[in-house]
Symmetry: D2
Subunit: 350 residues, 4 copies
Amino acid sequence: MSNSIGTVFRYTVWGQSHSPAVGVTIEGIPAGTPIDLARLQAFLDRRRPGRDPLSSPRREEDVPEFVSGITKDAGGSGTVTACGAPVTAVIRNTDVRSSDYEELRDIPRPGHADLTAMIRYGGAGDRAGGGAFSGRMTAPLCVAGGIALQILERQGVHISARPVRIGGETDPEKMRGAVAAAAAEGDSVGGVIECVVEGVPAGVGEPMFDGLENRIAQAVFGIPAVKGIEFGSGFAGADRKGSENNDPFVLQPGTGADIPGRIRTVSNNHGGALGGLSSGMPIVFRAAVKPTPSIAKEQDSVDIRTGEAVRLRVKGRHDPCIVPRALPAVEAAAAGAVYDLIRLRETGGI
Amino acid sequence: MSNSIGTVFRYTVWGQSHSPAVGVTIEGIPAGTPIDLARLQAFLDRRRPGRDPLSSPRREEDVPEFVSGITKDAGGSGTVTACGAPVTAVIRNTDVRSSDYEELRDIPRPGHADLTAMIRYGGAGDRAGGGAFSGRMTAPLCVAGGIALQILERQGVHISARPVRIGGETDPEKMRGAVAAAAAEGDSVGGVIECVVEGVPAGVGEPMFDGLENRIAQAVFGIPAVKGIEFGSGFAGADRKGSENNDPFVLQPGTGADIPGRIRTVSNNHGGALGGLSSGMPIVFRAAVKPTPSIAKEQDSVDIRTGEAVRLRVKGRHDPCIVPRALPAVEAAAAGAVYDLIRLRETGGI
Amino acid sequence: MSNSIGTVFRYTVWGQSHSPAVGVTIEGIPAGTPIDLARLQAFLDRRRPGRDPLSSPRREEDVPEFVSGITKDAGGSGTVTACGAPVTAVIRNTDVRSSDYEELRDIPRPGHADLTAMIRYGGAGDRAGGGAFSGRMTAPLCVAGGIALQILERQGVHISARPVRIGGETDPEKMRGAVAAAAAEGDSVGGVIECVVEGVPAGVGEPMFDGLENRIAQAVFGIPAVKGIEFGSGFAGADRKGSENNDPFVLQPGTGADIPGRIRTVSNNHGGALGGLSSGMPIVFRAAVKPTPSIAKEQDSVDIRTGEAVRLRVKGRHDPCIVPRALPAVEAAAAGAVYDLIRLRETGGI
Amino acid sequence: MSNSIGTVFRYTVWGQSHSPAVGVTIEGIPAGTPIDLARLQAFLDRRRPGRDPLSSPRREEDVPEFVSGITKDAGGSGTVTACGAPVTAVIRNTDVRSSDYEELRDIPRPGHADLTAMIRYGGAGDRAGGGAFSGRMTAPLCVAGGIALQILERQGVHISARPVRIGGETDPEKMRGAVAAAAAEGDSVGGVIECVVEGVPAGVGEPMFDGLENRIAQAVFGIPAVKGIEFGSGFAGADRKGSENNDPFVLQPGTGADIPGRIRTVSNNHGGALGGLSSGMPIVFRAAVKPTPSIAKEQDSVDIRTGEAVRLRVKGRHDPCIVPRALPAVEAAAAGAVYDLIRLRETGGI
């Protein structure tokens, strides 16, 4: 597997759903960077299950232990400081109920990586709880991204993700209704998450293959269940004419920067990225999240020992919709990508 | 800029629209790999302008000179052989009409990278013809990807891209009509390209951040004008229920492989990738291509010398729709990504 | 810091001398790879202090906890199996006596990274016990390299390092005498380690910049105190004539392989690498290890608070010669580099 | 092969001795960087053969054509400007006399990569003139490194290499005598090159695996014939005691920087690098260059077609000592490594 991403701000996510721990090792946090552990924990808590009556009742404490890369919290203020060495955070796996997965040992769940992992890793693969393909892996992702978010916020860059569609609904109340209805029938729903990155100065990105879209997409597709991403007007823009989709340029009042630095676009169909470089407008992208594949409804699968067709009901505790819990993961993935590109920009770029 | 992509099959695209040449340097082509130059040229010709009455009348010969990495064509068969050293192909830029771009020197074109490049690279940037942001850069991309395609085809992997929407139309004739109509009014249209990769064995991909979706997305967003990508049911799937979007498993008849290797899905909402790993089903993705930003219609821009608002008509020779010419670029980008992941798989994976 | 190395077999060493733990995260161990924990522990124990009356009396248990990437030891045989996910090993730091380092907080030790780390990481740097520059970091290096060694040995590749000079002596007994003499006067000695890698098939290496010498050197210089490396006749060969230094080719009897595969050299002045590729002869290199910089003898330093000259005696428990403990680290560094290159070779090479 | 090196300043050397061209593609030259072509040519000329009566009479013009990444030489001053896109330089191969190598097609030359390349690349390998293993490849290396040198010099960093031993002699006149004597008897001699890098600010380097020593060694071993490298007192220091090898710290007069920034060492046994980080003292390393393997004297080899033992005399035009021509290559390799690390430092480091 390749669980590493980034060039200067580079992190490696590790662990499996039922291994002793999951965690992340992060290189490239400058010495002296403060890390507010309380704020980080609050960020991590957003992805925890059990906070919402509609979400899985599992309890995961998700309290990372920082075993390297920081100097201790002197004042007890809850803020530690990066010392320049790689930062490793360990999150112990607790409340593991492998029994839920016993019967799945030989029956791949539709929509999951069970089958592809069986083929790739064979009998040696760790499939309990989805192994390294579990949504659980977004916890360490959120540690790395949450630290990047804190750094970015000090630089005036703010990232926030929200659901714009759930179960086909766009009204918040109807979204909740769609989740409840799916839950009631042992089914699940997906949705679309919109993420906005504000405050990135113009000119950030390393085109052609490490531009904003390339890097954000590479990171966001690391979140299980994401099956699509679009920037700005995206797929809708593909149906428009150039005269409709182009964003006219206007000069901002004021004398702050040189003229190019003061030019903005009237609209933001380009989603804040032109040629892979930030334009100074908000970076806007949407990620398509598929419905939770683990459902109680019967589905067709195959027993890999016997080859017999099986009617499978996935037991265990599953979210009828993972969109709410995926929000911080999307912010974290975007934060890591954007911060790395800002760092590269500071060098004069690759 | 970061114009390199790949781990084992790694290539660097270089050049600008009006530099003496564009080209590509490719590492990781195994010694002994045959390269059919005639087929490669036919592939490159698909992206050339001027083939279609509706496309730009520019003539670009796009005949690469291989200056390293191959042993000469002994038999005159038109097939050369990779010698194991990096392969560099040089494509001279001819028919350069910088005059078309003279007035653009100080007036950024809406929808283009002109402004962001000005900010990033300043006065030193090469903006003629879009510089390194030009669609011209897809020529060397197609050389690298075209070689990967030939290797993949010998392994039984086939990649083909087609337009599924142009100007909002899905019927081929209506697509042409939409392009003609846009051209007639000095406007442009975008579209959606669907690409299918068949024959990839199950288990290819390096999740979590170098899975099939991550890597294909990273490559495809390197094509100018691509603003979105989705796999399988993608954004539509996000509106479905799990019971609708999950792909049931069935056992294929026959005794060829072990049982897991014989399991297929009835439908392909997952687009051939589960957990970032190939499932053995066709890999299916769609890319959103924005309408050509260069249009003859008047648009609002700003003169960066004076800060004055300008009404801009983009002169020069531009495609009213770049979707047709983008098809081989999408195939090339996908081929490079898939071939690299197949190579990594052969090592036992990262 | 950049604590990561390798392309396919890639590991990141993390931790500081006095952080809660040191450890390593390893990507690229194929699923199904057995890891013999008892043998790994025996290997790690070779670098532990306190085994030799002449070495530091510190006690470090150095028992790694594998928190990810393995499936549990079913049979209690002491052998676990890699599951294909990144392997993370955590080694808790115990017996930390920061007090020994209190007075060093502001007085850089000659020959150490104290001063350069102060300048690079400033007040935020973790200097206790040498921080991330401590010899302690060779423990996680030995975990990664020790696993690579086990894989290599199953492939018939054997690596072993031995001291060829200590304190200028080449006779083992005199080496011990030199260490004892230096210890008695509160001084230290350095030495030269010779490492031999046997069984690497011919043709392994990725010249020009990832050849055997490049990669082994990059890894071995990661060991604190290594200041030089030479392959084959190395510096001595530079004083010879071509007719003396070239290794004549001869054909091995037998019919096993094709002719090139049966060609060997009579001598091994090339140290097993020609053009960065393995020749089939043993890979032989020597590493220069400087004398332990921490000595009880008075040395000149400067107090960074006051700028005053200081006569420093380094207290604490230090090895009068680190060569014996560096042996497994050299084997580990070489193993990681060689195994990565063998893996790359299997793909047909970069 | 892996002909790429660097993280932010990253270049790929390509070509073979007898391919149409050799060259280099460089990423990471900031837009606006001036490149003095006349000075670059003067630097390249230092590695050209035929300048010294004792060196090979081959004529290689080695005039790079910059086909991308620069804006044209406006004033005719001979200075061009990087535009921020990858810079590709093409050096045509002229005066190629393959006939000299005809008989070598099947007889590997002792001390060369012929045999290992045969095994690695098989019949498809390009062996003419040593293919991609030829000293010819140092020409594009010198283009990349020569550009880095110009950037570094503007930052006050100066790099210069000189021979300190040739044929075992340390006196310049005796060095020349040794070369002449070897030439007269159809033999060759090697030597040791010392390279000094002055002006690097303290704190540059990315330990543990991308420190100054790691990176410089990785680059310098990319030069054919280099078989060893040592920093500071290197192998000699390994025979010393800590009290002899440690470099005492003293405070420099003046009030320029903070105290740590004003601390220097009295001696430089550490060679300017402590813990992989620059100390502010000159970075000093020595590279062992083996004697030219191509000699007219008879040597034992094997005919790979027949397996018969052969007495080989290498015809063709060869330098009796490549040390003089290797000097700019060593400077170039060091420049690329140091400049990349300085750039990484500017980001706050990896």
